[in-house]
Amino acid sequence: MSTPQGSNVKDRAKTALKDEFLVDAVKFTTERLKNSKKAATAENGNWEEWRERGRQIRLHTIAHLDYYLSRFVENARAQGVHVHFAPEAKDAARIALEIAEHQGAKSVVKSKSMVSEEVHINEAFESIGIESIESDLGEYIIQLANEPPSHIIIPAIHKNRHQIAELLSKEAGETLEPETKILAGFARRKLRDKFLEADIGLTGCNFGIAETGSVVIFENEGNARMVSTVPKTQITLMGMERLIPTWDDLEVMATLLPRSATGQKLTMYMSGITGPKRAQDGDGPEEMHIIIVDNGRSLQLGDPEFQELLNCIRCGACLNACPVYRHIGGHSYPGTYSGPIGAVLTPALNKNAGEWQDIANASSLCGACYEACPVKIPLHDMLVYLRNRKVERGYTAAGEKMAMKGFKMLMKSHKRFRKAVKAGQIGQKLLVRDGYIRSQIGPLGGWTAYRYIPELPKQSFREQWPDLVTEVEKSVQPMAADVKLRMEQIVKARGKGGQHA
């Protein structure tokens, strides 16, 4: 398995679909995650109420992000944190490197952070000769494989245990059995020394709590605790929208995030880090930096179609629910984020640019992502908005544009539609065999490569209607009085907020 080839999603997906290992591994694990989530939300019993509350808290925070970010910064500084602002990814890397260089750091240990992937922090450190080691097991695996993560929370989801054993065996210089316990044990021993040697610990941030300036990190392995306990300097990269107002709000996020991500009630560790170690504490970083990263996030603010994107809590539930992701894996998506959230976030962080390939087309708009989302982000709608912006800005294929013009011509008048169907009934004769069209010609090729199309019947419904209506008329029964009354009541209740479904 190598990093996917191809310049767009369609081409990358073609490669991925042929990789049986990948498809099986991704299906196996997303299935497992999906079932764990289902069990955890059912066990919770009031999932919809928590979801709605989570959505409200995130909506509120983002709508007042300037206020909460100011509070967060003020409170973090009061606890002795050095806060930095990075309008772009390159600024974040520059600041982190400046600190590391100044300190003469030789090595950095990292815990899991998606924003660090946006910043390409490992490559940045390595470019000036500083070793940067991923300590999350999954991240460590893909770092050894020299690949980017293919899932927000399970970075090595595209690898099965045998492939992982192979990678770790190479590192160990001996054959490790493909058992999770053995593999995890090797990583523990190997990385323990790295933690003790490292000059800098670099973490991400699941939530920043505005009222105290705290950084909250959810994890299972304990590596983020190591990273924030052992090295003398801690650098935390935080997306600027990661905030929640209060610790009270953390209860809601702690209820939503682990259940949505892995189906756990809570991750094994949830740590709130507030400033560097106190003067008399015997451990914890002596120096703490938080680098707050924009990198395209502020472009969503004030945009009614995309602002909600910033509500995302990076749980990965939409990936596990997505039938497209399940088939093609994370590496088929360009950019740091994959799955439905990635399909929207990647173009959005890049100015919604139309040139962002065909990523927005890689969805059947089935809405499974929306249903899975713990804060109810309408990703399926956003995908359509992205497609619309692409069209409005003229980034469209000529063929599609013509087809849509044709669609408009046809559909704007029922007479023309009727005629076109009639023409089809006659014209199809050359293509139909035993009631089906099977040939792979023109734009239908993609369809008929997998499916036959039934022939058009001799008469469309609208052609049959005049005869049908006369005949049906003979069989109309009298309507029951209660039904009649109900229908009248429904009609009367309209316009007063009365609405079905």
Binding site: A13, K14, L17, P323, V324, H327, I328, D358, N361, A362, S364, L365, C366, G367, A368, V384, L386, N388, K390, T396, E400, M404, K408, L410, M411, S413, H414, F417, V421, G424, R438, G446, A449, Y450, R451, I453, P454, L456, S460, F461, R462, Q464, W465, L468, V469, V472, E473, V476, Q477, M479, A480, D482, R486, M487, E488, V491, R494, G495, H500, A501
Partner: protein, 249 residues
């Protein structure tokens, strides 16, 4: 009370028996279905592809067709969903059409919703002695919340053996133009869906959306599998005819 049929372009051109089944079934409950001819397509193929001007041209035929209807019924959760969720967005900058969209939204029902919620019918008196599985289409079940209605209707069909479809809630891979633009992904999805259908050993696959059924049915046919694919309206109406035949009517 004017109850109108929104046949949807796909059923109009490809599956006329669905409209007939609806008209004949509803007549039994005193509903005289009306068919305004000016309707074409809800506009979803263009809307979902981002071509909103084109979608509006098509959607306006729907607004016009049902302007004076009291109820509008469509044999599709997807096209009903288009009216419910996206017409207000599509016409947000045109106050008059926006108002019409809101009114249309209020009165538009997917077929089983209308049958169960408005007419209060869950037992149409059908007899259908076959093994049947059901694919709940994404837009109907997720976005309109149509989950119970088809189940209630099917549970009363006599003689029918219902087999739950494994991974029923998974998308079949249709997605309109997605099936053509991302044909390899869509193909993999429909093959998986067909596999699940075949695992049930059902003779009949039933659903509420002909886009999805065209997709799954087309793939089953492609594989040479003799599964009969029907809209639930067709199944119910055929079941009613079976019953009448058995009773010697």
């Amino acid at each position: 009370m004017k109850v109108s049929l929104f046949i949807t372009c796909i059923s109009d051109a490809l599956f006329p028996p669905i409209g007939e089944a609806m008209a004949r079934l509803l007549a039994r409950y005193g509903v005289r279905l009306h068919f305004p001819e000016v309707q074409t397509c809800c506009g979803q193929p263009a809307f979902n592809s981002g071509y909103w001007d084109e979608a509006r041209a098509s959607a306006q035929t729907i607004l016009k067709a049902f302007d004076d209807s009291d109820f509008v019924i469509a044999p599709s959760g997807s096209c009903t969903g288009m009216i419910h969720h996206y017409y207000p967005k599509l016409f947000e900058h045109d106050p008059e059409l926006l108002e019409k969209s809101h009114r249309l939204k209020e009165k538009t029902y997917e077929f089983t919703q209308f049958l169960v919620q408005v007419l209060g019918v869950t037992d149409v008196g059908a007899y259908f002695p076959h093994k049947v599985t059901y694919h709940p289409s994404c837009h109907g079940s997720r976005l309109l919340g149509i989950k119970e209605e088809p189940m209630q209707l099917m549970s009363h069909v006599e003689g029918m053996e219902f087999v739950p479809l494994p991974y029923a809630e998974d998308c079949c891979g249709f997605g309109g133009t997605f099936a053509i633009k991302m044909s390899e992904i869509s193909g993999a999805m429909v093959e998986e869906k067909s596999q699940h259908v075949l695992e049930t050993d059902a003779e009949v696959l039933v659903g509420l959306d002909m886009g999805c059924l065209l997709n799954i049915g087309g793939n089953l046919k492609f594989q040479g599998k003799p599964v009969r694919v029907m809209h639930l309206a067709e199944l119910l109406y055929e079941g009613v005819k079976n019953r009448e035949y058995a009773a010697g009517v």
